[in-house]
């Protein structure tokens, strides 16, 4: 690719993509506008052009995949060339920007419409929930879906199955408070004698088929088992559920999740439940590398209840935050003109006091 072609291709990309590309290449890149950013990128990559080009191709690829995965209603679909090398020169503006700026912004009335309670419906599991359970019958599973999607359902169904096969289930959560809530919830569901809880100094129903504990307690059990002191019956352990597995990245406690996963007995299935994270495939690939069976990944980014974003001015004026009713994924610049104006006003008025 010539420098000119590369520059044209960069020009066609949304700023967010350019910022991602700039990570690690340019310091304080968030301060630069699009034009400046492209210049800096070209400068910074003078030595390693192939690196920049391949990263760019990967980002474009990733973005187009994301856009295909997203339903049409939530966001305008920018057309991104799937293979950058084939269509480098194009001077017409990017379609996404065309769309964003020419379609009239959503009105407050539209934005507020549709509030309400959905009609009660019989429970039908989502496709991803069914999929996760099917995969779990075969192998370890990592689930990474947005907050509030229904991960608990997967945990409960998987527990029921394991219990039917007379296998022990361990459910871990990062916090004692969460363990307590789950203990109450699961006791109600499975019957109190079926559910036990283990903390540092207390054990209730330690012989129950479903045991709830924090990840630290499970790690300690695994230490003891490895040291030859069998405590809880790990030989019948059939399933380990780790809720909120994104804690793997916790600066202080993340290591405990790693240890637990490294030492988890190979005959037990793993079910990792996580909020949306950027690289769930890495987790699945890692587990595939260290566990007897390849680990399946269930991920999606679509929220089950659509989200809208708004801006509320201190004078109580409410407006949509973006030009679109839904969240314009990948296009943070599509601000609603009214929100833009009000916020500029806010910055103007509170400006002097902020610098004090």
């Amino acid at each position: 690719m010539t420098t000119h072609e590369l520059e044209q291709l960069l020009l066609q990309q949304p700023v967010s993509l350019l910022h991602r590309l700039a990570r690690g290449r340019i310091s304080r890149h968030f301060r630069s506008g699009k034009r400046k950013l492209i210049d800096l990128l070209l400068q910074a990559s003078a030595e390693n052009r192939p690196g920049l080009e391949s990263d760019l191709a990967a980002l474009i690829e990733e973005q187009s995949q994301r856009q295909q995965a997203r339903p049409a209603a939530t966001a305008p679909k920018p057309k991104v060339p799937a293979r950058p090398a084939t269509s480098p020169i194009s001077t017409r503006p990017h379609r996404a920007e065309e769309h964003g700026h020419h379609e009239p912004p959503v009105s407050l009335h539209e934005w507020l419409s549709g509030i309400g309670v959905p009609q009660a419906q019989p429970f039908v599991p989502d496709a991803w929930q069914v999929d996760a359970l099917a995969k779990l019958a075969e192998t370890d599973v990592v689930v990474s879906v947005p907050t509030g999607s229904g991960k608990t359902y997967v945990a409960i169904e998987a527990t029921k199955r394991a219990m039917q096969e007379n296998r022990t289930v361990i459910y871990t959560s990062p916090l004692k408070a969460l363990s307590n809530t789950k203990f109450t919830e699961f006791s109600r569901l499975f019957g109190p004698e079926q559910v036990g809880i283990l903390t540092g100094d207390r054990r209730e129903h330690a012989q129950a088929p479903l045991l709830i504990m924090t990840t630290e307690i499970l790690r300690n059990l695994l230490y003891d088992a490895a040291g030859g002191e069998i405590d809880v019956r790990l030989d019948t352990l059939g399933l380990v559920i780790m809720d909120e597995s994104q804690y793997l990245a916790d600066p202080e406690r993340g290591v405990v999740w790693e240890e637990t996963l490294i030492f988890c007995p190979s005959q037990a299935r793993l079910l990792l439940l996580s909020a949306s994270i950027g690289n769930p495939q890495d987790i699945a690939d890692w587990l595939t590398a260290i566990r007897p069976n390849p680990c399946a990944l269930i991920r999606h980014t679509k929220r089950s209840v659509p989200l809208r974003a708004g801006y509320l001015h201190p004078n109580e004026k409410l407006t949509p935050l973006f030009r679109t009713a839904g969240i314009p994924y990948g296009q943070p610049h599509l601000l609603h003109p009214e929100a833009k104006r009000l916020f500029a006003e806010y910055e103007e008025e509170t400006g002097p006091s902020r610098s004090r």
């Binding site: 507020l112 990062p174 100094d201 230490y223 993340g254 950027g278 659509p306 994924y329």
Partner: protein, 620 residues
């Protein structure tokens, strides 16, 4: 215009727009409490039916958690349908608020952004008033993951057709951080693997030292290091391809050959004026001033980020990350000592010469370094280049180069080829470092444990190691050393609980507290001294005497009620609860030493029994 909307007006607007129930995230506990106070003065009152519902739900939760009944805000919550939920509250109260929210009885909750993931606490609307949060005494921008976790609570499945995330500004808000977070991808997560003393003891209990490396290789940390290795290997392939045209010539290692010849040739000539020589000391050090190296300076210490030559004078220069977090470019002579300590440094080709993550990690490492570090002994050569035997110089005529057919090619290609070769060697070193760093850190821990006598020379657990491995909490080295120093001889349960509390507590929120007993003061003095002497091997805990005294009171005076205790201090109830819960956790580890330290285990058991009363008994 006010700098931010008044809480009462905010809730009124949300009600009017049918956007309740809402969770309103505020910057601090204090802000949440003040928001609640502003409602106490307001005239709003809920319709009777909703008030009754709140009362019903509260009564139900109170059956399980009696302490809720004593909460001072119960009446306000019932009257106005608004509550606060933050870490200053008792867990039981938080459970009550969560239950009220789940049953749809409240209109709004003021919460801090620490609201834990996984707590089932959804609403129709989430209000965000900030774009940064306080982390380790510093304000950092919210990440996309964090913003999406907050916004993710908006829109309850089965109860809402749509959810709303509303941003309302307050001073210091940066709108672009929020819009980017809402529309962006959550960040990738990175391994936070650290090797602790208990980990080393427990691994060596179950596996011989030879197997450890293969166990560490199974970590997510190594998985991600391997990903970085793969990137470097691709680069290495590229460099090797670049090297190909310079392939075998008359001599197999022509680059070195030419270098030696060239040096010898130049040395015969009188030294030019331009070629300024650095002192042999500096020259010898240069090889060690590689990215990630910790060095001593005339004042303070620093970590090298890059080594280069100044443009004009060609003087050796370094880019340094210094104690205060500043980045300086200075002459290499500023380095007074080279320490035997390097950190991973993911280099980049532009300022600040490493990735932002590396920079952040290094800044932390620099703060966490022990006061004393081993110094790397450096042999100083008199010449800065490959030391040449004078006989070689004498017999310059013996070199084949002057008459070699590829002489011209060698002379022409040398600068590029040697640069590429250097790059290849640098990459190979980095790859080597990535592959062995975990094991090195593990070995460092082994060395310390061996020096203290928990491991023998073949890295097997000694008698002390056997019980010490059961202490699997932070500050484990301090605790096991205290036990070995018999600091806990025939210790009273209140005193033991107090010391453990001071070790366990890691919050520096100030407050006023009761005074501790004379015995506690003396004991804490000893603990502090030991902790300081261990500082090179383990970061000392805060060892706050005030929280220790509070704990001592609670265990010593069994007639003291929770409310009575709360009156003795300005510490928030939630913080008191957390302090005690963590102390109990630490004590329960001492309890596991029954076989080797029966009286200590017994005392720990009694201390736990003494602590578990009132609200501390409500939760398992």
């Amino acid at each position: 215009m006010p700098p931010s909307i008044h809480p009462v007006d905010l809730v009124a607007t949300l009600r009017q727009r049918n956007l309740t129930p809402a969770i309103i995230f505020l910057t601090s506990r204090r802000a949440c409490d003040e928001a609640m106070q502003s409602f106490e003065r307001s005239q709003v009152t809920l319709p009777k039916a909703q008030q009754d519902q709140i009362a019903r739900v509260l009564a139900q939760v109170t059956e399980q958690y009696p302490s809720i009944a004593e909460h001072p805000l119960i009446d306000t919550v019932q009257r106005i349908g608004v509550a606060a939920h933050h870490a200053g509250h008792l867990p039981s109260w938080k459970i009550a608020v969560e239950e009220l929210m789940r049953t749809g009885s409240l209109d709004a909750v003021f919460a801090t952004t620490t609201l834990a993931a996984g707590v089932d606490f959804p609403a129709r609307t989430v209000v965000v008033t900030q774009s940064s949060i306080r982390k380790a005494r510093d304000f950092t921008d919210l990440t996309a993951s964090e913003i999406q976790q907050l916004a993710g609570r908006a829109g309850r499945r089965g109860k809402d057709l749509v959810g709303f995330a509303v941003i309302t500004p307050s001073p210091y808000i940066d709108l672009t951080v929020l819009t980017k977070g809402l529309t962006g991808q959550p960040e990738a997560i990175h391994s936070q693997f650290v090797i602790s003393y208990p980990m080393v003891l427990n691994l060596l209990k179950a596996h011989p030292r030879e197997q450890i490396q293969s166990i560490l290789a199974k970590s997510f940390a190594q998985f991600q290091l391997n990903q970085r290795t793969a990137v470097l290997e691709t680069k290495l392939d590229g460099l090797r391809a670049e090297m190909e045209p310079f392939g075998p010539r008359v001599c197999s290692d022509w680059i070195t050959q030419w270098q030696v010849f060239d040096q010898a040739r130049k040395r015969k000539k009188p030294r030019g004026l331009g070629a300024r020589q650095e002192s042999p000391d500096v020259a010898a050090r240069l090889h060690f001033l590689t990215p990630g190296r910790v060095v001593g300076l005339t004042r303070g210490r620093g970590i090298i980020l890059r080594q280069y030559r100044s443009k004009g004078q060609h003087a050796p220069m370094v880019t340094l990350l210094r104690d205060g977090g500043s980045l300086n470019e200075c002459p290499a002579s500023i380095v007074t000592q080279v320490f035997d300590r390097t950190f991973d440094c993911e280099e980049t080709s532009a300022y600040p010469w490493c990735t932002p993550q590396t920079l952040e990690q290094l800044t932390h490492h620099l703060l966490d370094l022990p006061p004393r570090l081993p110094i790397l002994p450096i042999l100083t050569h008199q010449n800065e280049e490959i030391p040449l035997d004078s006989s070689i110089i004498q017999t310059l005529g013996d070199f084949a180069c002057p008459t070699c057919p590829s002489r011209q090619a060698c002379q022409r290609d040398f600068p590029r080829a040697s640069r590429v070769r250097q790059d290849i060697q640098r990459h190979m070193k980095s790859i080597q470092a990535l592959q062995t760093s975990l094991w090195h850190r593990f070995q460092e821990r082994i060395d310390v444990l061996e020096r203290f006598g928990y491991l023998n020379a073949t890295a097997q657990l000694t008698a002390d190691g056997e019980w010490a491995r059961l202490i699997r909490i932070d500050h484990s080295l301090l605790i096991t050393e205290l036990i070995r120093a018999e600091a806990f001889g025939a210790i009273d349960p209140p005193l033991l609980a107090a010391v453990m509390a001071s070790i366990a507590h890691d919050d520096d929120r100030p407050g006023s507290f009761p005074r501790g007993s004379a015995g506690l003061v003396t004991l804490l003095f000893q603990v502090r001294k030991l902790a300081e002497s261990l500082a090179p091997h383990e970061a000392p805990p805060m060892l706050r005497a005030d929280v220790a005294a509070l704990t001592e009171r609670w265990v010593a005076d069994q007639t003291l009620t929770w409310i009575g205790l709360a009156r003795l201090t300005t510490m928030a109830e939630g913080d008191m609860f957390r302090l005690f819960a963590r102390t109990i956790e630490f004590l329960s580890q001492l309890k596991t030493l029954k076989a080797t330290h029966p009286s200590l285990a017994e005392s720990a058991d009694q201390a736990i029994a003494g602590m578990r009363r009132g609200v501390l008994e409500e939760l398992p």
